[in-house]
Assembly symmetry: C2
Homo-oligomer: 297 residues x 2
Amino acid sequence: MTFLAELERTAWTVEQRLGELLAAGETTPPGGAELGEAMRYAALGGGKRLRPFLLIQSARLFDVPEEQALDAACALECVHCYSLVHDDLPAMDDDAVRRGRPTLHVAFDEATAILAGDSLLTLAFEIISAPETREDPAIRADLLHLLAKASGWRGMALGQALDLSAERRPFSPEETAAMQALKTGALFRFACEAGAVLGRADQRGRDALKSYASAFGQAFQLADDLLDAQGDAEAMGKAAAKDADRGKATLVALLGIEGAKGKLAGLVTQAEDALKPFGGKAARLIEAARFVAERRA
Amino acid sequence: MTFLAELERTAWTVEQRLGELLAAGETTPPGGAELGEAMRYAALGGGKRLRPFLLIQSARLFDVPEEQALDAACALECVHCYSLVHDDLPAMDDDAVRRGRPTLHVAFDEATAILAGDSLLTLAFEIISAPETREDPAIRADLLHLLAKASGWRGMALGQALDLSAERRPFSPEETAAMQALKTGALFRFACEAGAVLGRADQRGRDALKSYASAFGQAFQLADDLLDAQGDAEAMGKAAAKDADRGKATLVALLGIEGAKGKLAGLVTQAEDALKPFGGKAARLIEAARFVAERRA
């Protein structure tokens, strides 16, 4: 199976499982159905499901079958979707379109979007803490602790707070990179580390995956910044060149387009090197790093 | 020690520990300090800390010392504080004053309030999942699962969604009560059940506490509705009689003031009866039920 076919197959599997986890409750009281609908709107029907893919593939390095990593992968996707919903809010980035559809607060309303985001975040913890996700409670507690740290006030949420503060004070390329390492990097690192936890990896395996995830996250972001700089609004499905408008200098501004492309190639090599200890088993993860570096949308 | 002194002592202990858990990080990047400040603004310096009190006292029934229940109690308070921050937002209840101070989005800004709420919720899961909270990972995973269910899309968040929907369609007293059982009741039930989990209680002990918590939550809410109906805006520190304005008929409207007072006394008896199996050990929890039924603010 090609990489793209495997990525799409995983996305389909995640979509199905998310649909089950978000299935409408039969006991929802009158007036309460909208919250679940809004959560489904935000979490289903789109996205490459890159984070779940990374988690599942990382777990595979330690021979954890997909079905034993799937729920943790879905929980991670819930956190990602919650972050998109809240980031899109009028008080935050004020985006009206996401993945070619109206954002949640446009399709529903602001209050519902806030609550649906809150609920997707909470659901992530509900899913991982469930015995079905993994019988061993030590693994569940470990995953929950890592996820909370990755997404909270020292992780992703801090990244978003920093991002907003860039509207008040211009960011240097280094500051932008530090912000991005939190805002988007933290969940990529969790994805890979969670695979290691699920697979009861030793410290060496865990460190290798953390190193890979760090290079992967930077490559993802740099490719995003390159796309942004080249300003292909249609391909992105969102307003392009918005970041530069908001006073965040990126590495692209520092290095130039060609320099940034060179840096990107270096990051892919770094990701590949980090996974050397796993040999051929890591082929999919290496393809994933190449994929995000080369993406055009 | 009188009940009130014990309640205040617990509130002080919770305040100290929350202060430690929310201590400013030394490594916060420039521009990132505001998020932590906003979280501290929302979580510190106020509140009776009723939920932590219930959790600590419930755990005590099973001889769990306070220091072994304290972190779970603080995590619960983080969830409560997050819910207040988000409920106060302009898109939700649009409240400008809380506990006699400007609400978080007024004191800071809306984006920071959304993020600080998100982060307090996430921090709750970070705290409970930490090995320091409880060595046994099975207890941590259990607590996390209960907390996620109590606060999420089938619990507290659903209650808030229902509450908002009352603006579109008037609620009967029964519908209002069902909404309140989720919006405020769910966390009270978690408080008591968490004490049972921490104490490795058997099903009988757990059921007794759930029954107590249910009566406690209803008494809390009915007392609130009575205060609301009697409309003492100053004593409440928030806009009074607001609920009736928003089309939510409460039990007070159904039963009248005197009828509601009779119902309230019945709920206190129900709370007392539920704890009979624990004998004199349950004295503080019984006092707590009387306290919320009699409160004037």
